[in-house]
Amino acid sequence: MNIVVPVKLVPDLVEELTIDASGAALDTMWLRLIINELDDHAIEQAILLKERYGGQVTVLAPDSEGVDDMLFTASARGADQLVKLVGNFEGGVNNHALGRALAAYVKDLKPDLILTGVQAHNDLDGSIGALLAEYLQMPYVGYVSGVNLETDKAVVRKEYPGGLIAELEVALPAVLGIQAAEQPPRYVAISKVRQAMKTATIEEHEVAELDLLGGAVVSRMFQPEAAEKATMLSGDPDAVAEQLIGIFKELGVL
């Protein structure tokens, strides 16, 4: 069972995000990067499947600040192979470009299953899993929160709104967009990560020049109006209740 997990680092929302001088991109000065939470779940799900069925797990990521630490942590969790995509990512990389770069490399790994987070919060041109699947001409199912394997197929649980789940059969090899691993990503002691830094190796794979075909051009980025403190409603209980009714109607809950 050969499982491949493409992951990426995304802006950490704990820090305040600001727009750069061009007005069309995020300012990278104070930007802190963190693994896309759903990609973290994808790694966990891959390790769970490895523990259940045997096989090997390869984690790949495009080069960016902090990617080595992230890959070593994946190794400490149980990943067998670590790959970093290096190249000129200066112009920004959208998911179409990343998908094409990954497809060229992943094809040769001959994976049975590709798991990746169903989306990342900074996606603007679709999620990497859906695009990669089509570049590899594999089937894709997203919003997956449970995976079991049978001969030549995966049986997955796909989440719909309201708690409804569909159990689907997907022919392998396939790409799954993970919404949640069957258990939350396990904790890895720092000492284990430090050990992985000494024993594990990260392979580098050079990526050819990327073009951004497939996405849209962003002409402007901005922050939505932020209300500093709550708008306070005053008056007697009756008056306040009336104002609330008005707000409920605006929200569409009434």
Partner: protein
């Protein structure tokens, strides 16, 4: 060039999803700029009337037993043929478990540009909402056919509704053989307690509710509004509500459309679990309560005076 807008209708188990109305409203808005017609694209089996309440100029109905259940493979095959033929200006899909299963594949298969998380259009520009809602990204609608996934929030569902059922035109669907994805079964959510993390309307009670008997005030309001009661830690610790209703660091994180916090101070452990809410309204007699820093609206009116009056008015508004 064709300036029509396609709206891919989302439906599940015989029910139209609300996002379909929002998309229709968005499609109508966009059509005002592009000047084309708005088509509801309905795929399925025996669902020809499902789009009757949509404000579309017409419904393109693709019927096939292979489309009886939604699958990424089935919808993608059917839609790529249709889009390839018709070449509309834009195709709107939901940014959902349905729409996102299909949008990426269509983009690659047809070589068409894809923009996701779009909240609304401004003339011929898309405005997308990313980074947890903290950043908006705007750009020109790409040519020749823009594939779009839409998130709710930019349009009212009512703007996509119509009392007049649009004309349904059946469209022949080519062979949908060798689908690689199929449905084995559906699993309904467990009857029993609700999953508050998936609820759109939450009435939350905190220490300020003071005792178990008073929780009924929140219950009544929740029933009137069609929401669910949840709580911060002290309430659950006292067993006034079960742990399944706990919102907070040790409980669930929630992202409802409306979070009405009654008597909750908004300590960090609770606040971090509700920041994903679309709108937080806080009721707390302490004007300095930290919850007012993250709430959109607030009031220091005593909840015991306010809630019964509010419940009454909600029932009146609902015609009850």
């Amino acid at each position: 060039m064709n300036q029509d807008i396609f709206v891919v209708v989302e439906h599940l188990r015989g029910a139209l999803a609300e996002i379909s109305y929002v998309m229709m409203a968005a499609g109508r808005d966009l059509a005002r700029t592009t000047g084309g017609k708005v088509y509801a694209v309905l795929l399925g089996q025996n669902v020809q009337n499902l789009a009757d309440t949509l404000a579309a100029d017409a419904v393109l109905y693709l019927e096939s037993p292979s489309l009886a259940d939604f699958t990424s493979d089935g919808y993608c095959k059917a839609l790529s043929g249709l889009i390839g033929q018709h070449q509309p200006r834009a195709v709107l899909m939901g940014h959902t478990s349905v729409g996102t299963d299909v949008a990426g594949a269509l983009s690659v298969r047809l070589g068409l540009p894809l923009v996701t998380s779009v909240r609304h259009f401004e003339g011929d520009k898309f405005v997308s909402q990313i980074c947890g809602g903290k950043i908006m990204a705007e750009g020109e609608l790409p040519a020749p056919t823009a594939l779009i996934t839409l998130v709710p929030g930019g349009y009212k569902p009512e703007s996509g509704q119509s009392a007049q059922a649009p004309l349904v035109t059946p469209v022949a669907v080519g062979a949908l053989e060798d689908l690689r994805v199929s449905v084995r079964q559906y699993i309904e959510p467990e009857a029993g307690d609700v999953d508050i993390s998936k609820e759109p309307l939450l009435i939350a009670v905190g220490r300020g509710i003071q005792n178990q008997d008073n929780v009924v005030l929140a219950d009544d309001l929740a029933k009137a509004l069609g929401g669910v009661v949840c709580a911060s830690r002290p309430v659950v610790d006292q067993n006034w509500l079960p742990t399944t209703r706990l919102v907070g660091k040790s409980g669930k994180a929630v992202k409802p459309k409306l979070y009405l916090a009654l008597g909750i101070s908004g300590a960090p452990e609770h606040a971090e679990a509700i920041t994903g809410s679309n709108c937080i309204i806080a009721v707390n007699t302490d004007a300095a309560a930290p919850i007012f820093n993250i709430a959109k609206y607030g009031t220091t009116t005593d909840l015991f005076d306010l809630v019964p009056v509010l419940t009454e008015k909600v029932l009146q508004a609902k015609g009850g």
